[in-house]
Structure formats: structure tokens, C-alpha cells
Amino acid sequence: MDVTGFKEEVLPLKNKLFRFALTFVKDEELAKDVVQEVLIKVWEKRAEMVFVQNLEAWCMQITRNKALDKLRSKHVKRTDQFEVQLDTRKERDTPYAVTERSQLMNRIQGLIDALPQRQREVMQLRDIEGYSYKEIAENLDIDINLVKTNLFRARRKIKESLIKVEAYGLQAG
């Protein structure tokens, strides 16, 4: 693969990879670093690409591994995330700055973040990226039945949490 091939086949995946990395690291700058590292690694391993059947799934798997490595190595970043959460809470508490819909959307983000990692990955790839079950199975290198089970559990949890939100209001735990 030459630079032109890289521009045409690999570079267009950057935003999907960025959003996928974001589900792990939850920080835009960190997610950007992850995608940079992934794309450079793909370029370095371009000689091996002839053996790769699904380029997109290969990139997704590298992204997942890199993002998890990042999470493990960056203990300091947890503090940063905590600060970000505090900041958004401040925003949410300001009545004039945000609408009720965006408050609800923030709440939903919190519910999704609270899901187990595998369920969150599957939900991201299905509901945000619009992949088929087969594609998700390839991207995550897991069985298709595991994809269905995780999606079912993730949606059920979100549904139950939304019912609670409806019953007790936005401030309810």
C-alpha cells in the first residue's frame, strides 16, 4: 500500500475509529492520540495488509487495544475525567444555559457510560455507527450470538434506567 492507497482506504475510517476510541477513553484529546497511533501502526504494518481480509475490522481491533492500553497507562487521566464530570454537572445545574432535552441527553450519556464495557462497545457500533451484527462480531472478534446478547442486555438496562428517570425525575440516582 502506498500513500494514495492509505488516503483512500485507511484515512476515511478516522472518524469511526475516533468515536470508538472515545467510548473507552472518554476524552477527545486522548481519543485523537489513540487514532493517530493506530493509523501510524497501520502504515508501519502495511506490508502485512495483504493477509488482512477485513481492513476496517482490523483497524477497529487495533483501536480497541490501543485505547485499553491508554486507559491502563494513564492513571492521571482518571482525575481529568473526574474534573470533566464536575464541569458538566455545573453546566447541568445552570438553569439558563441548557434545555431540558440536553439535560436528558447528558443523563443518557451517564447511563451508557455506566454499562459494562462489552455492552457499551456493541451499543456504540450498532446504535451510533449502524453496523450489522456480523460486522460488529468481526470488529470485536467475538461470536455473533454474543453481540446479540450484549445488545439486548444493554438496551434493557437503558430502558429500565429511563423508566426510573421518568418516575423519579432527572436528579434521581
Partner: protein, 178 residues
């Protein structure tokens, strides 16, 4: 309209919808203004908002700059070094050892070589004389050692004197008895 939305929602929560039905559901919830569907509408709006997150335009140029110029050179150089470092080290060791071997050979020949055969003969003669001189000295020492053997004979003669003394004592006793 609402019944279709309800059916799709039920299928969605049970993870039974296909991709097309999910697109339809998103479109219906976007249009729906019903307060009872606010949570689901917010969920779909959240998905839409997440899907709109993209990297900035500067990202492409950063990546292309990284892969096109210095990185590739560094990578190719390091892989080149890694591949040939062991071979180069082996060749270097062999070259150094062969140079040292040749130098040692040369030093031996220059030490033992004389400019003319006469000189060499004279030197050899001198060395042989020296050796024979040392051998003569050795012979003398061995002769001195052999005199030690005669000393032992003398000692045995002294021993005989003591036995003669005892026989003399016996004779003296005989005289006393007589």
C-alpha cells in the same frame, strides 16, 4: 402512526429490529412531539449527536506528514540496522582477529631471522656452547652427589668400630673372671 412507533420501540428494546427498522424508528421519534416519547427521542438524539463527533481537518495533514517523511526514514533505518547489526558484528570480530593473527605471525619471523647464515651459525654455536657449559656444571654436581655414597661406607665402618668395642669389653670381662 403511534402504533407503528410503539411496535418498533418494543422490537428495539428487545434487540429484534434490523438496521432499516432502526433508521425508521429514529426518523419517527425525531418527528414525534409526544411527551410520553421524550426519553426515547432524547436517546435517539443522543445517538445522532455522538455520530456527529469528528476529527478536525488538521488531523489528516498531521498524519500524512508523520507517515510520508521522517517516520518512514527512521523506521526503515532502524529495521535495516536491526537486520544487519549481528552480521556486521560477526564480520568485525573476524576482521580484527585475522589482523591480530597476521601481526603475530610477522613478529615471530622477524625475531628469529638473522641477516646472514654466518651470523645465524655463530649465534647457534654460542647457544650450544652455553648449553654444554651448563651440562658440564651439572655433571660436576652429580659427581659430588656420588661422594655421598662413599660417606655412607665410612659411616658403616664407624658402626663396625662400635661392634669391636663390645668385643673388647667381653675380653675385659674374661680377664676379670680369670
Amino acid at each position: 402512526m403511534d402504533s407503528k412507533l410503539d411496535k418498533l420501540l418494543e422490537k428495539y428494546w428487545n434487540a429484534e429490529t434490523d438496521l432499516q427498522e432502526e433508521q425508521e424508528l429514529k426518523a419517527l421519534l425525531k418527528e414525534s412531539k409526544h411527551p410520553s416519547r421524550e426519553n426515547e427521542a432524547a436517546l435517539m438524539a443522543h445517538y445522532e449527536q455522538q455520530a456527529a463527533q469528528v476529527l478536525d481537518d488538521a488531523f489528516d495533514s498531521e498524519i500524512l506528514a508523520a507517515i510520508e517523511k521522517p517516520e518512514t526514514k527512521v523506521i526503515s533505518f532502524s529495521s535495516y540496522v536491526n537486520r544487519y547489526a549481528s552480521i556486521a558484528a560477526a564480520v568485525l570480530v573476524m576482521a580484527i582477529s585475522s589482523i591480530m593473527f597476521v601481526q603475530n605471525q610477522e613478529s615471530y619471523t622477524s625475531e628469529d631471522t638473522f641477516e646472514s647464515p654466518e651470523e645465524a651459525y655463530a649465534e647457534l654455536k654460542k647457544q650450544l656452547l652455553m648449553v654444554s657449559n651448563y651440562m658440564n656444571k651439572g655433571n660436576r654436581t652429580v659427581n659430588e652427589l656420588s661422594t655421598l655414597g662413599s660417606a655412607a661406607d665410612e659411616l658403616s665402618a664407624i658402626g663396625k668400630m662400635s661392634s669391636a668395642e663390645t668385643s673388647l669389653e667381653l675380653l675385659e670381662e674374661m680377664n676379670v673372671n680369670n
